[in-house]
């Protein structure tokens, strides 16, 4: 039996290669994502471990890689030497970390751009936990003079700088645009910077740039003396610390950093994994279909084997072994391809500045095991139903002439399907009426039920779509068109199953399309309603910028009212409270923005705050409530709530007075500057003047209402296109399914095609016929998918109506999807159509 199975495998290799390809691609994506994620977290681990000393002295409440506001607290050289004098301490290196510095390339464009941060600090010569220098010189020498800097080699490359060049930077204060001399390049010991730009100063250089020339430090790196544990080192350091500072062990810093980075990396990995899983599932659909057809084709042979004495179990087993071998081979190829894909992903991320060492993109046992389990399991599960059907072939079928067994009626399946559809609809609709748990999750469960059921009963559901296709084809393409339509209708199960693979992809694409369109339309509404300023000046990456910018903007002629706003992280409650983003507004904020006030007022005096309705509900605040905010360095604020507002795009959840910030030791910067025109000023003229002010600062731009809307839309669309790109893989796999099905249909209908050719179907007409059948399948998949996507997109939007206040339907996009489906159909038919038209007419009609 085993030998027969293996013979079968070889005999049908083309078919098998095609169906295996679906699994290969799915597994390649899966293993590629796993390898890539592993490489990504390896890269960060190496950087974190390689750059963390035995212990760090830093302001209370700051976190490495965390989102804490820069503190104005510093330690003096005397504090540092007190630490250095401790017997537990081998070395104490004062460190100056600066924010608000940006590197420009020769053309004045920002290096690093979005995403990864620019880290500016002094070269303190510290060593990490493993006793290695944190920084390794690659090229040139360390900086000595205040005007000398080093860059990491990657940033130097991206900026087009060589040692000896003058480097352009944007300084955090004073004269914003400056040039410094590049005297060398250096990298973190752990290798790579994961896209961050390193700007390394001499200690006096950093102090001049960030501390106004004061001889002070923002933190201290401690190296333990021989035999001193991190815990003892920290305990000793704590005895001599200045106010507002604490000491933490290197291990804690590493843990905190890994947590923070891990969350971010987890989001990326999960995001990619979701698409990998979708690809694998679509691949599974294709396996089901291919094995069904293979079994149907072999009915007579299987019956013969049964007649000769093979048991049902042996027949099922033989089909499953075939699936097992297919799964194993496909997974092996898939994993190898995944390795290449991971390199590709790494190269793509390098474009965004995230540098991942190729050496860290390795196959781990976990990746290999997971890929094989998923690849082989999906293939086996998908082949199980066809395998069972194979066993049901009665031995007598070997003697009968009619090769293909009569398909069972679709009625029972359709009926059960209809019931499940109703159940799914009930669950999804229940999601709209505040059920226990997450609304969206209810709808998600409904959607999954629907997708699976629609796939199962696509044979019945697809009928009307195919009938429409047939009559359109007949009208447009005459008899070959009609024949194509008839062919698509002839085996509804096969057509439906093939279309289902495409359906999944298009359902997701349409669903995402509806959500994105709704998001865009909600943003439009919000912007229309709330964007009361004439201009907003913000930085591209939402990084705060020097207050010097606002000082200059204020003096531009035509500027009527100007309001400054700083966004920052603070902790709610004590130092150990939860981190939250707050906005600090100046007193002119409420004169520009017409906020929707539910109770109280939005004009703030120092010591007052207004909050959004959501925050008020969450924390049980009313007008008159008081709460505590803690800031890095230990400063606290206890503002009184004076107003509650409806959710707003321009205000924060918690808004305090800008005047309070300096008193709690937070470095003042601006995150957003809003401007209203003076009476009679010409908007265009003023905008030009404002733009001229920020011209030397590529990170900051001036936006009017339309620009603002476009920039928000741009972000939504960027994400949308990324998702579409990832879903394209699922569609490619679906195309393979169509190619497969068509190829088999052509093979099965050899005699019929020969007859048609004999009585006058030209090659061209034959190719057109096969192509149109393919288009019919693709359109069916697209229509089913789009209907599903639309229905659940609308339901999901309803469930998320707090954020997606307005429903948007991407009608234009849906038309594009349909056109793409037609193109997909045409492309999928190329090979089968050519093969069909090359059929030997004689062999086709020759009687046996």
């Amino acid at each position: 039996m085993l030998r027969l199975t293996l013979r079968n495998l070889l005999a049908r290799k083309v078919r098998l290669v095609m169906s295996a390809l679906a699994i290969v691609l799915g597994v390649a994506f899966l293993s590629g994502v796993l390898i890539f994620s592993h490489g990504l977290s390896n890269t960060f681990d190496n950087i974190i471990k390689g750059s963390t000393p035995d212990a760090v002295v830093r302001p209370i409440g700051t976190e490495s890689f965390g989102q804490s506001a820069p503190s104005t607290l510093t330690v003096t050289p005397a504090d540092v030497s007190r630490l250095a004098d401790l017997p537990e301490v081998a070395a104490a290196d004062g460190s100056v970390d600066g924010t608000g510095l940006f590197l420009l390339d020769g053309a004045g464009k920002l290096v690093g751009g979005q995403g990864a941060p620019t880290l500016a600090f002094n070269h303190a010569g510290s060593v990490n936990m493993l006793g290695e220098p944190i920084l390794e010189l690659r090229d040139g020498r360390w900086p000595e003079q205040p005007e000398e800097v080093l860059l990491d080699h990657n940033a130097a490359d991206r900026g087009g700088y060589h040692v000896g060049d003058q480097v352009r930077v944007i300084a955090p204060n004073g004269d914003l645009s400056r040039t410094l001399s590049l005297v060398g390049t250096a990298d973190f010991n752990g290798g790579g910077t994961a896209g961050a730009v390193l700007v390394i100063f001499s200690t006096p250089g950093a102090q001049q740039m960030f501390l106004g020339g004061r001889d002070a430090f923002t933190s201290v790196n401690l190296t333990a003396a021989d035999g001193v544990s991190q815990a003892r080192l920290v305990a000793a350091a704590k005895t001599v610390l200045p106010d507002g500072f604490t000491a933490v062990t290197g291990d804690t810093v590493v843990d905190q950093s890994q947590d923070a980075i891990g969350q971010f990396l987890g989001v990326i990995s999960t995001f990619l994994l979701v698409f990998a899983i979708i690809a694998v599932i679509v691949g599974g659909f294709i396996i089901v279909n291919t094995f069904s057809i293979l079994v149907a084709q072999r009915t007579r042979e299987l019956a013969l084997v049964r007649a000769l004495g093979a048991s049902r179990r042996q027949v099922t087993g033989s089909v499953l072994i075939e699936a097992l071998v297919t799964g194993l081979v496909a997974t092996t190829v898939g994993v190898a391809l995944g390795l290449a894909l991971a390199r590709g992903l790494a190269a793509l991320f390098r474009q965004f500045g995230l540098d991942i060492a190729a050496s860290s993109l390795t196959l781990t046992p976990r990746t290999i095991v997971l890929s094989y389990v998923v690849g082989v399991l999906v293939t086996l599960v998908a082949a199980y139903l066809p395998a069972r059907r194979a066993a049901k072939v009665p031995p007598v079928a070997a003697m009968r002439a009619d090769l293909v067994p009569k398909e069972r009626s679709l009625r029972r399946r359709t009926l059960i399907g209809a019931v499940v559809l109703l159940l799914g609809a009930a669950i999804a609709v229940a999601g709209l009426f505040d059920p226990p748990g997450n609304d969206a999750a209810w709808i998600g469960v409904g959607a999954v039920l629907w997708i699976l059921t629609v796939a199962a009963i696509s044979a019945a559901l697809g009928h009307p779509v195919l009938v429409v296709c047939r009559s359109v084809f007949r009208r447009l393409f005459g008899t070959p068109g009609q024949l194509a339509g008839e062919n698509a209708l002839r085996d509804p199960r096969r057509t439906g199953a093939t279309a289902s693979a495409l359906m999944i992809g298009l359902a997701l694409v349409s669903l995402i399309g509806v959500l994105a369109a709704s998001l865009n339309s909600s943003v439009d509404d919000l912007v229309d309603e709330q964007f009361n300023a004439d201009f907003v000046v913000q930085s591209v990456a939402f990084t705060p910028f020097s207050t010097g910018v606002g000082d200059k903007l204020e003096h531009v002629p035509g500027v009527g009212i100007m309001s400054r706003q700083q966004f920052l992280a603070a902790k709610l409650g004590g130092v150990d409270g939860s981190s939250t983003f707050i906005a600090a507004n100046d007193d002119r904020f409420s004169r520009i923005y017409d906020l929707d006030v539910r109770s109280g007022r939005t004009t703030l005096q120092p010591g007052e705050a207004f909050v959004s309705k959501d925050a008020a509900d969450k924390h049980h605040w009313r007008v008159g409530s008081r709460f505590t905010l803690s800031f890095p360095g230990g400063g606290t604020l206890t503002p009184t709530v004076v107003g509650v507002i409806e959710p707003s795009q321009v205000a924060g959840q918690i808004n305090i007075s800008l005047d309070d910030l300096e008193s709690v030791g937070v470095q003042r910067q601006d995150s957003s500057v809003s401007i209203r025109l003076a009476q009679g000023a010409d908007a265009a003229t003023v905008q030009r003047a404002l733009a001229k002010v920020v011209e030397p600062l590529p990170i900051v731009n001036v936006q009017d209402k339309d620009d603002f809307r476009d920039s928000v839309r741009g972000q939504v669309n960027q994400l949308l296109y990324m998702i579409y790109g990832l879903l394209a893989l699922a569609i490619v796999i679906a195309v393979i399914g169509i190619v497969n099905t068509l190829g088999l249909s052509v093979l099965e209908r050899t005699r019929e095609l020969g007859l048609l050719r004999a009585i006058g179907l030209t090659r061209r007409q034959l190719r057109r016929m096969v192509t149109l059948e393919s288009v019919a399948i693709a359109v069916l998949g697209a229509v089913l998918g789009m209907v599903l996507g639309l229905v659940f997109g609308v339901l999901l939007r309803q469930a998320l109506s707090d954020d997606l206040t307005s429903l948007g339907l991407p009608l234009g996009q849906l038309v594009v999807f349909l056109v793409i489906a037609v193109v997909v159909g045409v492309l999928a038919a190329v090979i089968p159509a050519v093969r069909a038209s090359r059929l030997d007419v004689l062999r086709a009609i020759a009687t046996e």
């Binding site: 009585i759 006058g760 007419v841």
Partner: protein, 253 residues
């Protein structure tokens, strides 16, 4: 002899067809020169492997000869490319095969009109009616092949072969799969189409009864025309066949 009888609907000149090469070379046709007269019902007979099917395929523009000439309705087939050949088959040739004659997804009516609709031509309604009544299928036009008996399916095939008014109809063992009653109906119809409609029919068969419906029987053996009979009856055909068989046996001995 009248003009109609002397006119040639199709002809071959020194037609050769060989398959394979070297030791495995098979000469399916070995120099066949033959005129098929218009308005005649001709049978091509011969033992298995005599080349009768190959001859028909070459004449019907389904297969290209190795050398020699095949002419249909005055057109030398070797001068046409695949598309022109297809058009020629569609417009000037009718086919009836032994089995699997119909497209299962189309109704009887659609099957009959298929050559016309592939060419984008409208049927001649009066002629269509005449043909339908001649094959007696009027009440079956809306049925699909799976709902028709074998004999009915072959009648649909005959109707399809005639409806485009071809210059010549090729029938390849049209009764090979049928019982004797249905066979009789089909053969009577083909006979009528020659007598009443002036159609030219060439039929490959190894059934002496079928051959007895014809005006002329051409006997093939080893790829050559070895004999022919005019206005044969069953006994004559059987005698000739037996002679051919024994000649073949002698050769083997």
């Amino acid at each position: 002899m009248t003009d109609v009888e002397t006119a040639v609907a199709a002809s071959t000149v020194d037609l050769h067809k060989t398959y394979g090469s070297g030791d495995s070379e098979v000469r399916a046709l070995d120099g066949v020169t033959l005129d098929l007269h218009a308005g005649q019902f001709t049978a091509v007979m011969g033992p298995s492997g005599s080349g009768k099917s190959t001859l028909m395929h070459c004449l019907a523009a389904l297969n290209a000869p190795t050398s020699g000439k095949a002419v249909v309705d005055g057109v030398d087939l070797s001068t046409l490319n695949d598309t022109r050949l297809t058009t020629l088959r569609r417009e000037r040739i009718g086919f009836v095969f032994q089995a699997f004659n119909l497209i299962p997804t189309l109704t009887a009516r659609e099957n009959i009109l298929l050559p016309l609709s592939l060419a984008g031509r409208r049927p001649d309604e009066a002629w269509f009616d005449t043909v339908i009544d001649a094959v007696g299928l009027r009440d079956r036009l809306g049925h699909r092949p799976s709902e028709l008996s074998g004999g009915q399916q072959q009648r649909v095939a005959c109707a399809r072969a005639l409806v485009s008014k071809p210059r010549i109809v090729f029938a390849d063992e049209p009764t090979g799969n049928l019982d004797s009653t249905s066979s009789g109906e089909i053969l009577a119809f083909l006979r009528r189409s020659v007598d009443e409609f002036g159609q030219t029919v060439v039929m490959v068969t190894h059934d002496a009864v079928a051959a007895s419906y014809c005006d002329r029987v051409v006997f093939l053996a080893d790829g050559r025309v070895v004999d022919e009979l005019a206005d044969p009856d069953r006994e004559q055909v059987l005698e000739h066949m037996a002679a051919l068989q024994s000649a073949a046996m002698n050769l083997v001995d």
